[in-house]
Symmetry: C2
Subunit: 219 residues, 2 copies
């Protein structure tokens, strides 16, 4: 089976870098999409070598060349990104939302309100017809993702707008050593996943750890 080509938009960020590198190590062809191709190419050239080839391109070029496009930009940047991508995401493409819609204030981390219910549903409302969507990788600590030799050793919650979208996202997630994907159903479950991330961040801060994440018992 040939592995699909994956675009990781915002792939030079902390979360995106970890996802791109772990996919590259699992043999995926990865294109890091960035606003600044030159800077992204320079960053990628310094990354450790991987089995799958990792290159850099603009958002548009990366998305056009990929069967799966991972959105790893900050949530605040999503609207502008999607506006610019409307013609580059063709029907059938699987978009994977990994955004964590959280802000940090004096009372600590809090959830960004999304009129659609969640970041993932906010994105769904802005995707061209026929483009499929899954939410995944939201509860994986970026710190751990970038510690490439360490198995992630946790469960990861996958929601999506169809069983097929969830299965494809789960298959991608399985490339991460030590990860068990857990299909939690439709996009309406995304807000709960986002709250798990918020709670993990609160646990990190309170208990002075870096990698709080979840395992589901009884499954």
């Amino acid at each position: 089976m040939t592995l699909p080509t994956v675009a990781v938009l915002g792939g030079t960020g902390h979360q995106g870098r970890g996802i791109a590198l772990r996919l590259g190590r699992a043999g995926y062809r990865v294109i890091v999409g960035s606003r600044d191709i030159g800077r992204a190419a320079a960053a990628v050239s310094e990354w450790p070598p991987t089995t799958g080839r990792i290159t850099a391109d603009g958002y548009d070029g990366a998305a056009r060349a990929a069967a799966i496009t991972v959105l790893a930009v900050p949530f605040e940047a999503i609207d502008a990104l999607l506006d610019g991508l409307r013609s580059s995401l063709s029907p059938g493409t699987l978009v994977i939302d990994v955004t964590v819609p959280i802000t940090f204030g004096s009372a600590g981390a809090s959830m960004v309100v999304a009129a659609e219910g969640s970041a993932t549903e906010h994105i769904k409302a802005r995707l061209p017809d026929g483009v499929r969507l899954a939410g995944a990788f939201k509860t994986l600590p970026a710190h751990l993702l970038n510690d490439l030799d360490r198995p992630v050793d946790c469960d990861e919650f996958i929601c999506g707008d169809s069983a097929e979208a969830r299965a494809e996202a789960s298959s991608l997630a399985s490339a991460f050593e030590g990860l068990r994907p857990v299909d939690v159903g439709p996009l309406s479950r995304a807000r709960s996943i986002e709250h798990l991330t918020l709670l993990a961040i609160a646990i990190n801060r309170k208990h002075k750890v870096h990698d709080a994440r979840y395992r589901v018992a009884g499954l």
Copy 2:
């Protein structure tokens, strides 16, 4: 150290029964508070024997006699319950909210909106001054709670309006074999805990299991 007396209001319900019996087994003196004392007394008389004595009383009598009052009624019944309890909860009492503010519709389980942010904060706004509050036991499956010989084998998330309230609730939670309490901070974290419950229910239904619950890795 003498263990505090614990009132479990709504203790004849599925969740409340499991909590009351596990506390009784750990040696706590438990008073099951119910609208219908006679029915509660009949139910309790058929429960398996425990080290700690378990008796039944009305809501008011149970709350007056206890240092810790667990609210294990359905969330829809909370407002009426708290209205009736205003004079029976004395300052210093620790109230523990275990409600799960979830409704079941055609699209499956969904979260009940609470203007205060969460069920726990909704309750906080209705407690007399000086009464302390923690949220706990929200993600413990009732099914598992009632399987008394089985260790619960999971983490449980504790929020509260002071570090002391959280420590006391954690101490109570530690009476459950196989449970690790995780202090997640102030009451503003309650909605995230409630979303964990919602997600666990979704996982139960989707994967045809009964006891989905959480462990925090990296802690």
